[in-house]
């Protein structure tokens, strides 16, 4: 069964069909790329998948269960986590607390237990710290765990966002332009990280990216969006050599 199955998804804002008749099928463990020119509707697709927008029509199934029209937190609990194009970290919190916020629904104790500092508080907090440090280690952020998130260098902020998303234990990870604003070295490192996340966490990943080096380097399959509609889809090499994709997006 496919991990994500989207059929006839569409939404309009006023008279503009931002996304129309969008279909995508992602198998478990796949690294899938969503590309297309600016304004093609890529981020809108992400917003539809994560419940920020409610689709006008169409259906979304995650791992066999319908998540169409559900709220953002329900969709996160169902197993989709995301990062944002413009980084959205909890700036005033420490690096560790950012990840611990991601663990919110998986390590529980009540507010009262927290205020009264009952034994459960110490036990769960200890488990949370251990788990969060484990995740930070994966992204080589464990040395900066007590930094304020806003004090991290740009590349590390991107990584922290991925770590926070993974903390919610998703089945599907959506990355919105993870390499935006990164230099070639950072991008190369990020490619390694994304591949590592897929293998290490056995994760299914859908990513939006403009950096063709990254896309051709790690994505197995691609879907190309143009003016809100699917231009073509298929294996990466095939799609990138498609005449229509070159005309619409890549350029001669």
């Amino acid at each position: 069964m496919a991990m994500l199955e989207v059929k006839n998804l569409g939404i309009s804002f006023g008279g503009l069909k931002a996304v129309d008749d969008f279909n995508i099928t992602i198998e478990k463990g796949q690294l899938y790329g969503l590309i297309g020119p600016n304004g093609a509707g890529k981020t809108t697709v992400f917003n539809l998948l994560t419940g920020v927008y409610r689709p006008d029509h169409g259906s979304i199934h995650l791992d066999g269960a319908s998540i169409t029209g559900k709220k953002t937190i329900e969709i996160n609990q169902a197993g989709i986590a995301r990062t944002f194009q413009n980084i959205r970290l909890f700036k005033e919190l420490t690096v560790l607390d950012n990840v611990k916020a991601g663990l919110h629904n998986h390590f529980r104790y009540s507010t009262l237990e927290g205020i009264l500092r009952l034994p459960r508080y110490f036990k769960v907090e200890k488990e949370m710290n251990a788990r969060a440090m484990e995740l930070l280690k994966v992204f080589d952020l464990d040395g900066e765990y007590d930094y304020k998130a806003s004090n991290l260098p740009y590349g590390k902020q991107r990584k922290l966002e991925i770590a926070r998303a993974l903390a919610t234990e998703p089945k599907l990870l959506l990355l919105d332009e993870p390499a935006a604003g990164m230099n070639p070295n950072e991008t190369a490192e990020l490619m390694e990280t994304i591949r590592f996340v897929r293998d290490h966490f056995d994760m299914t990943i859908l990513l939006i990216e403009h950096d063709m080096k990254l896309v051709s380097g790690i994505c197995e399959k691609l879907t190309v969006l143009n003016f809100g509609q699917v231009l073509t889809r298929g294996d990466t090499a095939e799609v990138l050599n498609d005449k229509r994709v070159i005309t619409a997006y890549l350029g001669e």
């Binding site: 994560t50 986590a81 390590f107 998303a165």
Partner: protein
Amino acid sequence: MKKNNKLFLQSSITYGIVIGCWVLVQILSATGHMTSLLKGILVPLCIYSILAVSLNLTVGILGELSLGHAGFMCLGAFSGAFFTKCMEGSISSVQIRFFIALFIGAVVAGIFGFLIGIPVLRLKGDYLAIVTLAFGEIIKNLINVMYIGLDSTGFHFSTKDTTSLGMDSTGVVIIKGAQGITGTPKASTFGIGVILLLLTLVIVLNLINSRTGRAIMAIRDNRIAAESIGINITKYKLMAFSISAALAGVAGVLYAHNLSTLAATPKNFGYNMSIIILVYVVLGGLGNIRGSMIAAVVLTLLPELLRGLNDYRMLIYAIVLIAMMLFNSSPKAIEMRAVFMEKVKKNKNAAKEAA
């Protein structure tokens, strides 16, 4: 883990300051150095500190500007005083009545915080500030026209005057409109005030450094991201808002039992009061619990201590306000402070190496 120890140390310093102040006051009064002016201001100091700390939970931690904090204090004050007045006959011990009143004041203010929070917290920024301001005023004005009496047949309620209550000969008017409640026992003491302040600090600091606090601060820093990682925005916003209101209610009960007459005037429960509390919070630093407590104490003491200077009193008060604001918030001052701390650190390290 190292981080937990640091948090523990920070909270301990805060509790230590409060206990230290209490000890200092005890020593001063034992050696006869307390003026009657200072004695009179001890309980208000606790009240304002509790208010500042509780408002910081809404403004600094939740990140929503609330201008109706005095309204919740007002609710706590009147419900607490109402209870002590009603139970005058049935519970003879003033202390026990006062403790139950504290609890009732907190619960009533908390419930109203919750109810008001449902519509209000859908708004953001300036809009939220304006609506909370309105709610604060509404609460105060409603209490001003409320007449409640108690006789052998039960409670009587009116919004006109005492005669329209229609009570029999045993009737006692408890809340008398704009005149409020008279004859509340003077049960608030500095000791109780300090204990309540410590309790407030424990609740707020422990809340901040827990799973709940993290969720609340995550919402403050980025609502959309918080939602995307599965944090229930409405639940945690309401929780922070009602806990903040309940603590203001406690301060209100303390206030009501510090005076023999309780009336809702613009001066004590009005818009001005809300602003003054907000000033404590902003000057002490948004999200800085210890800071807001210190700001409340300094800014309450200052006008009293400067009484001898008559006309220059408010001038100096204003200058202190501006100086504190610059010291706390101006980028230049923050930079200078960072440089200074760096130097201190270096000197310390140098001293260590030399030794």
